[in-house]
């Protein structure tokens, strides 16, 4: 299943590394990343593929939330379909 990971928060060293490490541990493959600083906030969107992971979707959600908490940023993961539905015909 393809999903979009969104990370927003105050910029600091190691956010991308932390999130990617956690994704790698769960065997979630990163397909694309875009990252910028918007209005002083670190903003990153990643397209990932969870089909190789043994974790269930809620387990991935919980793991990312925990990682986000320790990094002091907000992390969420949502199925890509919701964005496609809204922005692609």
């Amino acid at each position: 299943m393809r999903a979009v990971v969104t990370v927003v928060g105050r910029d600091k060293v190691g956010i991308i590394a932390g999130i990617c490490l956690r994704l790698a541990e769960m065997n979630v493959n990163v397909l694309d990343i875009s990252q910028t600083i918007m209005q002083g906030l670190f903003t990153m969107n990643m397209l990932v593929d969870t089909s190789g992971s043994e974790q269930t979707f809620p387990e991935i959600v919980n793991a990312l939330n925990a990682e986000g908490e320790s990094l002091g940023v907000s992390v969420r993961i949502q199925r890509e379909d919701i964005f496609d539905a809204m922005h692609r015909i």
Binding site: V4, T6, L31, D32, S34, T36, T43, N45, L47, F57, P58, V61, R76, I77, Q78, R79, E80, D81, I82, F83, D84, A85, M86, H87
Partner: protein
Amino acid sequence: MLNQREIIETLDMIDNQHLDIRTITMGISLLDCSDPDPAAAARKIYEKITSRADRLVEVGNDIEREFGIPIVNKRIAVTPMAIVAGASETEDYVPFALAMDRAAKAVGVDFIGGYSALVQKGFTSGDRKLITSIPEALASTDLVCSSVNVGSTRAGINMDAVAWMGRIIRETAERTKGRDGLGCAKLVVFMNAVEDNPFMAGAFHGTGEAECVINVGVSGPGVVHHTLKSVKDQPFDVVAETIKDTAFKITRMGQLIAREASQRLGVSFGIVDLSLAPTPAVGDSVARILEEMGLERCGTHGTTAALALLNDAVKKGGVMASSHVGGLSGAFIPVSEDEGMISAALNGSLTIDKLEAMTCVCSVGLDMIAVPGDTPAETISAIIADEAAIGMINQKTTAVRVIPAPGKKVGDMIEMGGLLGSAPVMPVHPESSYTFIARGGRIPAPLNSLKN
């Protein structure tokens, strides 16, 4: 890949503009639950609902988590109970409402609709028993919603039913007076009721529907309001196009969730309802959209035109985004459930008469309006008759959900809590409609040509 702007736009709608799926409603046919023994019928009703809907809430929660979109309500609509209960040898239909309530609580849904009777042309004995029982049924249950269809464009208006419903509404308010007449918030009187409406309190599963279906209601007044801020002072052509674009996006999301929910539940997909449904939260108001178009306050001159544009543009944008559109599909204007409407009513700019005019151009009718507790039943009936006439002539659904708040007078507030909100008690005309309502009988079906 999606670009960052698109991702952020969607997240902003969810986080800051109250975009949500208002309801996933499972429609369940109870036609096979009829039984001469009322206890057996009640048991079958309970078992059918709990077996069909046992995974509804769980699936709703899973979808909510995976897609990251709030699903505010999970609900059930059943076959109008007057039809199901008609075969039972009993005078008392309240046990059927209790069975619905127990089943709804067992599966964890927010509301269950369908304690209903369709009497547009006349009453069966089951219809009479059901309507008689409504005040008791609503006072003794928590989640059951009731509706009565008193007319249709093809049948005309059943004025005996209109007169009776005025008394039933008063009685329901009295029976729930400890909670400001809350029972009336769960009772709708319809004209041209639809069979696949996912919204409460008027949802029921029509007899033309399949065994079990999933209907979804989307919502997004806050999103429409937000996008209109970007086209300030532009002509109405631009306003209409902007609303259409937004409605399309919102509805596409509703369609996705509806398809996903129906697949996971193994139930056929019914419809997406395009209604713009407000909540009492700031930033989720239909009234504020109308004001964004340039009105100082909702209810002033121009409000009906603004609402007509909004309603039409929402439909035009939404209809292409979904494979099946149905239900009520239009902007709702419930007073107590809309922060801007409450404010306009308090301010005096929004009156019942203006709301009545607004119902000519939108979905659905006079909704969640508190009136003084001593409002005569005949006055309530006359309000219903006016609203029914608008629906009959315009071939649209209209409805009345008024709360004659016990012990309250004009200017007082009633509090119903949650999505039902709070409402100021609004004045009604003091002149009597008693003799008009006392006539009874039927208003004949209207001519559908020579339109003027």
